[in-house]
């Protein structure tokens, strides 16, 4: 990777252009608008040639690291290979050219994709029904929590406004719950890194809407008491939410529905190989058990008796529904189980989610098929345990049991060197690896969270192990080389404090 220091604005020169448009033959133009509705000065966007643009963004790309560049063991992010066929399918004009408001009869292929992908996700997870509308994992969490609240409210159980979240949970769990108007009750982890059932019991009462769990949890450990937890929570009238961020090790082995979960989300950009794109777009489908299906958000795809697909938008479609019944069951008086769409928790995306991402995920599922899906989890778990066992003599392993897709080291075994987790992460960049997730989970001070995924070869893992051992040796022999790392990247450590104290957030302010 080489350093290139320009912004596109730096290349701008008055009079250059990078576009070509048809000659304007119309008799009117936007300058005919009333003066008071026009902007007074043109926006200061760059003026550059087409090659300027191509070269600039090619140069910028070369300062980036992706899964295609090298090993990306970022814990909880499941950086698996993103197959190229996914991209080609998503770009097919027959899908990319569809307007979201086109009549249902002209988009039967697209709607069939919603049906087929939902069905496949149900088969994989053991949940009865899915919505594909949520845009991301956190958005899925919020949607799932809305379903839970809607369920309680539709039964007149208004006091269930508290939700239990383990201390090891992803930060999005409490944040999503707060946005959904829920109060967070924290449950502690025990010494083995699992939810403490004895700590949980006294929290369960008739104000509890449910519990959010990640299984395996953020330490990569399977919550083996899950069935007991499910029974306890259900007994008190609460529901179980499954954070699917860590679904990859269970794919093809365990279905969340069979563990007793009522609601879950999946991250298609993790488990189902759609590219992360530098932070998005992703997709966070939400699956529910049968008794919650009526509360999934709209718009949703429905099927007529003759197999024609149509979209329910939340307006009551029942025969005896009063005129202008509105949406979301506010007036129509249907039962909470009514499946016409009127009992939906609401609408959470402008149209129907990130359709392009859904196409990619289904492509992946078709490539895997019923045969290969069974190997995804086991091979992911194999890789994680292999790294863990290979490095536990150099790094502090607080919980030594078998892990799932990821595990957590608490810094170096020899903590006398003053070398921190941050230094180790930065040094890895020098050696051509992406860093693991660091300082998460918060249960340890020097967390290093490693997740290799099933698409990495033994040779790649061996290369990583060798470098990690080398870094551990460097920490003793030459700690300074770590504390000043990275040395070979396009830029080195950044002054983040000044960036936050005096934010410069646009070109104009530089």
């Amino acid at each position: 990777m080489k350093y290139y220091d320009k912004l596109i604005f730096d290349l701008s020169k008055e009079g250059r252009q990078g576009y070509s448009l048809p000659v304007n033959k119309w008799e009117t133009s936007a300058s005919d608008l009333p003066a008071g509705l026009q902007r007074t000065a043109a926006p200061a966007l760059p003026q550059v040639s087409e090659l300027d643009v191509v070269r600039h963004y090619t140069n910028l790309s070369q300062m980036n690291f992706g899964v295609d560049s090298g090993f990306y063991p970022l814990g909880s992010c499941t950086m698996k290979y993103n197959p190229k066929i996914n991209e080609e399918i998503a770009a097919m004009p027959a899908f990319a050219g569809l307007h979201p408001l086109q009549p249902a009869q002209t988009v039967q292929g697209a709607l069939r994709l919603y049906k087929d992908l939902s069905h496949a996700l149900s088969a994989i997870t053991g949940m009865a029904e899915f919505t594909l509308d949520p845009f991301a994992g956190a958005h899925g969490e919020l949607t799932g929590l809305m379903v839970i609240r809607k369920y309680h409210m539709s039964r007149g159980d208004m006091k269930r406004t508290r939700i239990i979240v383990p201390d090891s949970a992803h930060g999005t769990n409490p944040a999503s719950a707060a946005v959904c108007g829920l109060e967070i009750v924290q449950v502690k982890s025990n010494a083995a890194g699992l939810v403490d059932v004895e700590d949980l019991k006294p929290l369960l009462d008739d104000t509890i809407a449910g519990i959010m769990m990640t299984n395996p949890n953020t330490l990569g450990l399977f919550e083996k008491d899950i069935k007991e937890i499910a029974a306890l929570v259900h007994e008190c009238g609460g529901l179980l939410y499954y954070d699917g961020a860590n679904m990859n090790p269970l794919m093809g082995v365990v279905r969340p529905g069979d563990m007793g979960f009522d609601v879950m989300h999946l991250n298609l950009h993790k488990t189902f190989s759609t590219p992360h794109g530098g932070g998005g777009p992703g997709a966070g489908p939400v699956g529910v058990a049968a008794h919650l299906a009526s509360h999934l958000p709209v718009p949703k795809v429905m099927e007529d008796e003759d197999g024609t697909l149509y979209i329910a938008d939340g307006t009551c479609r029942c025969e005896n529904s009063p005129e202008g019944a509105g949406v979301f069951g506010e007036v129509c008086g249907c039962s909470p189980e009514c499946m016409c769409g009127c009992q939906a928790c609401g609408q959470i995306s402008g149209f129907m989610g990130n359709f392009g991402v859904l196409l990619r995920a289904y492509t992946y599922i078709l490539m895997l098929g019923k045969q290969n899906i069974k190997m995804v989890g086991p091979l992911a778990v194999l890789g994680a345990n292999y790294i863990k066992e290979s490095l536990k003599d150099c790094f502090k392993l607080p919980i030594p049991t078998v892990c799932k897709h990821e595990f957590v080291f608490d810094g170096l075994l020899d903590q006398s060197t003053g070398v921190t987790t941050l230094d180790i992460a930065k040094r890895l960049l020098d050696y051509g690896f992406h860093a693991p997730t660091i300082y998460f989970p918060l249960l340890f001070h020097q967390s290093i969270m490693i997740e290799p995924t099933e698409t990495e070869s033994k040779e790649t893992l061996d290369g990583f192990i060798e470098i990690m051992k080398h870094i551990a040796a460097e920490a003793s022999a030459d700690p300074e080389s770590l504390k000043t790392a990275p040395h070979t990247t396009p830029v080195r450590r950044l002054d983040e404090t000044t960036a936050a104290r005096q934010p410069v957030l646009r070109y104009k302010d530089m």
Binding site: N24, P103, G171, I184, G279, G346, L379, L382
Partner: protein
């Protein structure tokens, strides 16, 4: 076990199991209660080759009808230059995660900084984040942000001129978040200033969300709106179409505090509703309440100019349940999409796109009125989309267009239909559409 995405040979697996000290892959699940392990065959299709997958999707695609698009209402068929797909499919962008390690993510960080610079230029605001899921969710975040920024207020007002999907999503978020919403009706196709004053007088208003261009295609005249809202210590929020902001008065010029919307109009393919790319921008007073990722400029230890995620103390991974939002990502690749688009178009290209769209839309508007099958719904300025009152049954009109491969005349309200024209539409195209519509008139006469 051989499969293109699994690199493991049987020998590899054996050696790895030996290192771990277990016999089999099943042993790696020894901590899982055996009765939750799924031992049946998955109800999924058989594995396919790439060739078969292509055939599968080609067949699925045949069940779709690609129509000539004359519809707007939140998704716009603008031209996407050839350069963009080549740039965004570069795997260094495509297969990267959120830029947590800035030293190896300067590509992502720098284009987000450029994106922020361009969005603030278009909107006339001081700051923006690294993008949101879509326009509707950006509006919901704007509403929650206005609550956080004003403290101790309980109500937010929405204009009924907002796109219906935006109102629905905001209503959903508000319902669970505990925000009381009030609606400001439209009068003659524009948000009623009088009704706004009445609602404001009732007090307790954290913010007011109005469209820049409303669901009728009317460009809203927001004169005095900011003063009225600010007088009650509330925030003015504008839902905008960024493409149009190259020519129409900006939310910044109207005195808005927060601006949101969908940047899909900046060349992003229709793609049946997503992925698109929402945006959320604000004045500098409110930057600490702005949700989502934000990139800032700084320097590295050698003094090199560099970019980094900043103001992270607002975010969920630090603040957990006290975060201003649960957003922990952005539509980064789509932000790159529109950044490359804006770079190519520049100020003149974007103006030209608007001029072409305006010219075509006004041509269609005037010719449609001449057919005698439509009446003006409102007499208000518009840019690329407009609403007419249809004098023929709307379903008949829609069916005829669709039969001829045209998608348009979507019903905004009973009897009122939308048309949208972009630079992709030529005069010949519109004359052909007019010909189809005129055929309805001759039939009606024949029937009469």
């Amino acid at each position: 076990m051989a499969f293109a995405y699994f690199p493991h040979t049987e020998d590899d697996v054996r050696q790895m199991l030996d290192r771990i000290g277990v016999e089999s892959l099943e042993d790696l699940y020894s901590d899982v209660p055996q009765d939750v392990i799924y031992r049946e065959e998955y109800d999924l299709p058989d594995a396919m080759s790439e060739l078969e997958v292509r055939q599968y999707f080609e067949e699925l695609a045949e069940q779709n009808t690609n129509l000539f698009c004359l519809c707007g209402l939140g998704a716009y068929d603008h031209y996407s230059p050839a350069v963009i797909p080549h740039i965004i499919s570069r795997s260094e962008y495509l297969t990267a995660y959120t830029p947590y390690q800035p030293e190896v993510s300067q590509g992502t960080l720098r284009y987000i900084f450029e994106y922020q610079s361009m969005i603030t230029e278009l909107t006339g605001m001081d700051c923006t984040n690294a993008s949101m899921y879509d326009g509707a969710t950006a509006a919901a975040e704007a509403v929650m942000m206005s609550m956080a920024a004003t403290k101790k207020k309980t109500r937010v007002l929405l204009s009924e001129g907002l796109l219906p999907q935006v109102i629905k999503v905001v209503r959903t978020y508000a319902k669970y978040n505990g925000i009381e919403l009030g609606l400001i009706p439209c009068h003659e196709g524009a948000t009623s200033y009088g009704a706004l004053l009445t609602e404001l007088a009732a007090g307790d208003v954290a913010g007011v969300l109005v469209p820049g261009i409303n669901k009728y295609g009317v460009i809203e005249d927001l004169t005095c709106f900011a003063d009225a809202v600010h007088a009650q210590k509330g925030l003015l929020m504008v839902y905008s179409d960024p493409s149009s902001l190259a020519v129409i008065r900006t939310p910044g010029e109207w005195g808005a505090d927060i601006v949101c919307g969908d940047s899909q109009s900046l060349g992003v393919p229709l793609c049946y509703g997503g992925p698109y790319v929402g945006f959320l921008a604000c004045t500098k007073d409110h930057v600490r309440k702005l949700p989502g990722r934000i990139v800032g400029a700084t320097r590295d230890v050698d003094g090199k100019r560099a970019y980094v995620l900043t103001l992270q103390a607002r975010e969920q991974h630090i603040r957990r349940e006290k975060a201003t939002s649960n957003i922990c990502s952005n539509q980064s690749l789509m932000a790159l999409y529109v950044t490359v688009y804006m770079s190519l178009m520049g100020p003149r290209g974007l103006r030209e796109v608007n001029d072409l769209s305006y010219g075509g839309a006004h041509y269609l508007h005037d010719r449609l009125l001449e057919t005698g099958l439509f009446e003006k719904a409102f007499d208000k300025p518009f840019l690329k989309e407009f609403t007419l009152k249809s004098l023929v049954p709307v379903e008949l009109l829609q069916d005829r267009l669709q039969m001829c491969g045209v998608f348009g005349a979507v019903e905004v309200e009973p009897g009122l239909v939308n048309f949208c024209v972009t630079e992709k539409v030529s005069k010949d195209n519109l004359d052909a559409v007019l010909c189809i519509i005129k055929s309805l008139s001759s039939e009606e006469e024949a029937q009469a």
